[in-house]
Symmetry: none
Subunit: 226 residues, 2 copies
C-alpha cells in the first residue's frame, strides 16, 4: 500500500508536519514539536525516524543544531529555469547518459530527445566552460583507476572525435574492444599515439591511430562520498 514510497504512515506524517510547520513559522520544528504534532511521546523516537528519513534521502539533518533539518527538494517538477534575467545561468544541467566501463563502448549524445529525457546533474558553469556537447557518464568498475577515477565517479565529457596533445580523452580501442581514459599525445615521427595514465607511476600504452576511436574529451570528474 505504502510500498510506493517505502515510508511508513508515521514517517509520511513526519514529513508533512515538517512542511506545514516550516511554512507557518518560517523555520523548522524541533524534535519535540514534531513529536507533539505527530503523536510520538519520545524525543529519541522522533530522532530515530528523522535519521531513517535522512538515510532514505527525504531530508538532511545537522547534528547538534537546533531545528537543524530541512526537506530535500522533492521529485515533483524540480525544474524551473525561469530565472532568466538575461544573463547566462551560473549553473547548468548536464545530461547523464549512462555508464562507462572498461568493456563496453560508451554512450554518446545523439538525438536531442535522448538528452532531454536523460537524468541530469547540475554543476557550476565555471566547472565546464561552455556546456556545448557536454554530457556526463557514471563510471562502473575499477578499470579506470589508472586514470585516478574510481567506481561510481561521474565524468564530464565533451563529445568530439579529435584531440590535442595533453587532452584527457575517452577512447575505444578497437582490437581490444575496450574503453579507456588516458591523456593523448601524438609524437611526430611516431606511427602510434601515446596514451598516458593520469597516475604518474603507471606506464603509457601506444596504439595506432587507426585502432583508436576517440569518443570525447574528459573535462571534469566529480566524486561523491558518504
Amino acid at each position: 500500500m505504502l510500498a510506493q514510497t517505502g515510508l511508513s504512515k508515521r514517517q509520511l506524517r513526519v514529513l508533512e508536519v515538517i512542511r506545514e510547520y516550516s511554512e507557518e513559522y518560517g523555520y523548522p520544528p524541533t524534535i519535540r514539536e514534531i513529536g507533539e504534532l505527530v503523536g510520538i511521546t519520545s524525543t529519541s523516537v522522533v530522532s530515530y525516524n528523522l535519521n531513517v528519513l535522512q538515510n532514505k534521502g527525504y531530508l538532511v539533518r545537522d547534528r547538534d543544531i537546533s531545528r537543524g533539518l530541512r526537506l530535500v527538494d522533492g521529485l515533483d517538477d524540480h525544474e524551473s529555469p525561469a530565472d532568466g534575467e538575461g544573463e547566462l545561468a551560473e549553473f547548468v544541467s548536464i545530461p547523464l547518459l549512462g555508464a562507462i566501463a572498461a568493456g563496453i563502448p560508451l554512450p554518446v549524445p545523439e538525438s536531442n530527445a535522448m538528452l532531454a529525457d536523460a537524468e541530469s546533474i547540475r554543476v557550476a558553469r565555471e566547472m565546464i566552460g561552455s556546456p556545448r556537447d557536454v554530457y556526463a557518464l557514471q563510471v562502473r568498475g575499477d578499470s579506470m583507476i589508472d586514470a585516478l577515477i574510481n567506481d561510481g565517479d561521474v565524468v564530464l565529457m565533451r563529445h568530439q572525435q579529435t584531440a590535442e596533445n595533453g587532452d584527457m580523452i575517452a577512447a575505444w580501442i578497437k582490437d581490444e574492444k575496450a574503453t579507456t581514459l588516458k591523456r593523448f599525445y601524438w609524437e611526430p615521427g611516431r606511427t602510434s599515439v601515446r596514451l598516458q595514465p593520469a597516475n604518474p607511476l603507471m606506464d603509457p600504452i601506444y596504439v595506432h591511430p587507426a585502432n583508436l576511436d576517440i569518443q570525447g574529451k574528459v573535462i571534469g570528474v566529480i566524486r561523491r562520498l558518504g
Copy 2:
C-alpha cells in the same frame, strides 16, 4: 545617506546575513551566529538590534524560541522567485580555505568570519547534503594518488573530529607528521584503526588512535581538466 531606510549599516548587514544564512541552511541563524557573521561580540547587542529591526517592521521574533525569527517580506526585494516557499538555494558557496599536501597540517575552519572572507567555489546542494561545516581544499602534490586524488583536485571536507567505519577521512598522523586521506575502519578487538586507501590495489596501514588526529571527512572530490 542611509536615511532612506532608517537603518544603520550594521542593521542592514544583519538583515543581509539572516537572508543569506537562511538560503544556505534552510533555517535562520542563532543570535550568536549572527554576531559572528556581522562582527558583534555580544549576544545582547545582537538581540537588541533584532528588536530594533522588529520594531521597524523588518522581521518578526518569537520569544524564547531558538532561531525564532523570520524576515518580513520586504517590498524592495531583488528576488521574485515566484515559487513561493522553497527559499532554499539550489547551489551553495563553499569556502576554499587553502591547500592540502602530505607534509603540512591541513587548514580547518575556525571563525565564521574566516569562512566569509575566503575564496569560494560553488556546488550543487545535492553534492554535499548539508553545507554545515563544509569547506574545500586544493590538493598539492602527488601524495594522495593512493586515494585516487590528483595534484590540483579540490576536495570537499566536512569538519569533524570523529569518524564512522567506512568514512573517508583526512587525518594527521602525528609521529610521521603527515596528512593522509584514507578510509577509516575501527575493528573491535584491535588496538589500532585501519586506514584503507581508496585504491583497492594498495595496502592499508594501521595506526594507534592516539597517534591519529582526524581533521574531517571527505565528502567529495572535484577535478577540472583542460
